[in-house]
């Protein structure tokens, strides 16, 4: 149908005609570029937020993969404990896939200061394992962190200390239920205060040594959970399968199940962004199609001429489509560069302190880092290219159907 030679001619005609009217081409290219730019930039911004949310949840002790007693997720109490199978699990995973794992005791408890009491989650940790895995690894800002599984001190969050009207060095009483169902109670001195991204985190968790917790609760060598952190969020599902195979009797789940809100948000976002891209493309198309029409009628005579010389109508369609393609390409280049530059400029993070509490509600910290995802760039550009190209077929088709004689006799 269209052979190599014709391609050369069509290409020449298309590219030169596009270059012919500088201003019009510039404006059209800019319009397309604007569309691509806003699409990709806004998507990056939205991803920054949801990424923060997911990462906060993960860093917030959830980890990428969790291992529990099958009844623990519904009823996170001391009796639903498991043996520490960390070694077995790490062996089952290929090297390099996983950054590390942490075995913890994790139970609901009440902490009481001189003035007040409140409900918290008591977490017994092995500090060496937590480094780089969760926020508590490096989160202590005054006093000292938990130094070993048998450390006798307790570390609480800044906001919790304020709420309880207590401070570093003072005593608190921690109460929880032991394995026999009896109330276990112990006094602790606050040896450290930690700071976390979210206030909610600071109020929710108190930390002590894992051995200390096991002793307090009568757990022996049992633990409540093993948290595993891999290379990135997306690799979690693969890890889940490997781990489940290694410990079939335990409940193994990924962060998606453990932090379903973050997961749900990501899914809604994907749908919304696709919809948004579509809207932008449609808005751009109207102008593009109108512009192409006008440029065709301006050149009606030429289209008549080349058809009279023997170019077949479908080649006219191809020529016009090629012109549209060139403009779209230019727009995409401009738009993508613009978006990339914008994100680079904002790479230090966008400060949304104004909305701090609202963000807190969603589990997002105040500073958001826009992130361009490959899938967003691909989707946005694909939409623009394919749909606008399809749209351009309408005027292209009309151009090919211009009655040749009429066209020849236009004295435009």
């Amino acid at each position: 149908m269209i052979d190599a030679q014709s391609w050369l001619v069509l290409w020449k005609l298309a590219s030169r005609n596009v270059a012919r009217n500088r201003r019009r081409t510039a404006l059209t290219t800019l319009a397309v570029g604007l569309g691509v730019w806003t699409s990709v930039a806004l998507a990056a911004f939205a991803r920054g937020i949801s990424g923060e949310m997911a990462d906060n949840a993960i860093y917030d002790l959830t980890g990428h993969v969790q291992v529990h007693h099958p009844d623990y997720p519904q009823d996170p109490v001391v009796s639903n404990s498991i043996p520490d199978s960390s070694a077995k699990i790490m062996q089952a995973l290929p090297p390099g896939v996983v950054l590390g794992s942490a075995a913890r005791v994790r139970v609901p408890a009440v902490v009481r200061s001189e003035k007040k009491a409140t409900g918290v989650t008591l977490v017994g940790i092995d500090p060496d394992a937590e480094h780089g895995l969760s926020f508590i690894g490096d989160g202590v800002i005054s006093g000292r962190p938990i130094e070993g599984p048998d450390d006798q001190g307790i570390v609480i969050g800044q906001k919790l200390a304020e709420h309880l009207q207590t401070a570093l060095g003072r005593r608190v009483v921690v109460m929880s239920q032991d394995v026999n169902g009896k109330l276990a109670e112990r006094g602790f001195r606050i040896t450290g205060i930690f700071d976390a991204e979210l206030e909610a985190t600071e109020k929710a968790f108190i930390f002590c040594g894992r051995g200390t917790a096991q002793q307090l609760l009568g757990l022996g060598a049992q633990i409540s959970e093993i948290s595993i952190v891999g290379q990135n969020r997306d690799g979690a599902d693969a890890i889940v399968n490997a781990v489940q195979a290694a410990v079939p009797e335990a409940a193994v789940r990924s962060w998606r199940k453990a932090a379903p809100f973050a997961d749900a948000l990501l899914r809604v976002q994907n749908a919304f962004l696709k919809f948004w891209f579509l809207i932008v493309v449609i808005a751009v198309s109207f102008g593009l199609i109108n512009t192409i029409f006008m440029s065709i009628f301006e050149r009606a005579r030429e289209f008549g001429l080349i058809q009279s010389l023997g170019m077949r109508p479908h080649n006219v369609i191809v020529q016009v489509a090629l012109e549209a393609f060139l403009v779209l390409l230019g727009g995409m280049v401009i738009g993508n560069c613009g978006a990339w530059l914008t994100v680079r400029a904002l790479s230090g993070g966008v400060d949304l302190s104004r909305f701090a509490r609202g963000m807190e509600m969603m589990g997002v910290s105040r500073v958001v880092y826009p992130t361009i995802l490959a899938r967003d760039i691909i989707t946005a550009n694909l939409f623009v290219l394919v749909l606008c190209l399809l749209g351009s077929l309408y005027p292209a088709w009309k151009a090919s159907r211009l009655p040749i004689l009429e066209a020849l006799h236009r004295t435009h």
Partner: protein, 408 residues
């Protein structure tokens, strides 16, 4: 007017171009009108839901209680205050609540929970919890000390209606507060925070348990209509005056997170809408520009015949304004139609059920028409559209009739 007729006819000389331009404007306009309505309605819905489930429209509290809820920050002579404010016009119901923290133990488990002392009769009008009782009843008259707890808490404690709970807490003075309560009912609101943490007991029981006679932490007020809120709030402020250390709070202060979440959503919305308007404007700019360039000869002729550049400019602007106007009209109508349609049917953002539930936003939003939604978007488009039309039109002043006539 002649100009109007001429402008109108001029537009329809290039039918397809005008139709495409109108469609472009209408499209952006429809999107703006519909989504703005959707956003506003979902905010309203969440505010209302928030208020109706537990928080109420307004609350009177001791100054500083909202930021740091200490047991000592009390409303004294609470009953009298309740009688006084409850009788204000526009107030549907008022009720006292008191809050404390305690360890709650069942036969098998112990948990920390928040204890709320409530007035059962009044709670029926102040919150939806009484209506969300899944088993048992919401406080029945009787001698025994009763409690109503959330479904998740009941599950964690492994208790059912009829079981007993031991409450162990601390009074403001530091002495032990202990009681045994019978579970009268279990509620399920769907809001995690409430279902996991809340135990309600009679206010009288609470006051006795925590040794705070005729005292409470909050007076919750519900209004007949949310629209009356600012007025009633003002009146209460006047009544409270400088006498006591009391203040009145509305939903924005009671749920600052929600307020900011809404503001955040609003900002995002504007980011999106503005981009859409800019894109649309750019799209249309080219058309306006090319149109003028195309008709240079015609303009030259008209000016040679005696039409002033200013007259010509205003005719051209009138044409653009008519195009924009048609587009806006079509857009507003379509947008309004969509709003009405989904207002009845309910609009569900796909995949958002979970998120909505966590924030207590209704899963399906029913948008409603509002002046703001119908005008803000279109006005923005009009402004930018006219700007886009003006820029190329200004070139008309530079046209020299002779040259124009020679040009082809």
């Amino acid at each position: 007017m002649i100009s109007l007729k001429i402008a109108w006819r001029n537009i329809w000389r290039s039918k397809r171009r005008s139709v495409l331009t109108i469609l472009a404007v209408a499209f952006s306009c429809t999107i703006l009108v519909f989504f703005l309505s959707l956003q506003r309605s979902s905010w309203e819905a969440s505010v209302n839901a928030n208020a109706s489930i537990f928080q109420g429209h307004l609350q009177v509290q001791r100054v500083g209680y909202n930021e740091f809820p200490d047991m000592e920050k009390l409303i004294s002579a609470a009953a009298a205050l309740e009688a006084q404010l409850g009788s204000l016009s526009g107030v549907r119901a008022a009720g006292l609540r008191a809050f404390g923290f305690a360890v709650v133990s069942s036969a098998e488990r112990s948990y920390g929970a928040q204890i709320v002392g409530v007035e059962p009769q009044r709670e029926m009008l102040l919150s939806t919890i009484p209506g969300l009782i899944k088993s048992g009843g919401y406080f029945t008259p009787g001698p025994q000390h009763q409690a109503v707890i959330g479904a998740s808490l009941a599950a964690n404690l492994k208790v059912a209606v009829g079981d007993e709970l031991t409450i162990l807490g601390q009074t403001a003075q530091g002495s032990v507060a202990a009681a045994i309560l019978k579970i009268e009912g279990i509620f399920d609101t769907g809001v995690g925070e409430l279902d996991r943490n809340l135990i309600q007991i009679g206010l009288a029981d609470f006051q006795e348990l925590f040794e705070m006679p005729d005292q409470a932490h909050a007076l919750v007020i519900n209004l007949n209509s949310a629209a009356a809120l600012p007025e009633v709030e003002q009146r209460i402020k006047t009544i409270l005056g400088a006498e006591r250390d009391l203040t009145v709070l509305n939903w924005e202060q009671l749920s600052p997170g929600l307020k900011q979440a809404i503001e955040l959503d609003m900002s995002f919305g504007w980011l999106f809408y503005t981009s859409l308007v800019l894109i649309g404007t750019f799209s249309v700019l080219n058309t306006f520009l090319m149109s003028i360039l195309e008709r240079t000869r015609e303009y030259g002729l008209l000016m040679a015949l005696g039409l002033t550049p200013l007259r010509l400019l205003s005719t051209v602007m009138l044409e653009s304004a008519l195009l924009l106007g048609c587009g806006l009209l079509a857009g507003i109508s379509c947008g309004a139609a969509l709003v009405i349609y989904y207002g009845i049917k309910g609009f569900q953002v796909p995949g958002s059920e979970e998120i909505m539930q966590t924030f207590n936003l209704s899963t399906a939003v029913h948008p409603s028409l509002s002046v703001a939604a119908l005008t803000l978007g279109p006005l923005m488009i009009l402004f930018f559209g006219l700007a886009a039309a003006l820029l190329p039109a200004l070139r008309i002043r530079k046209i020299s009739p002779v040259e124009a006539l020679r040009a082809i």
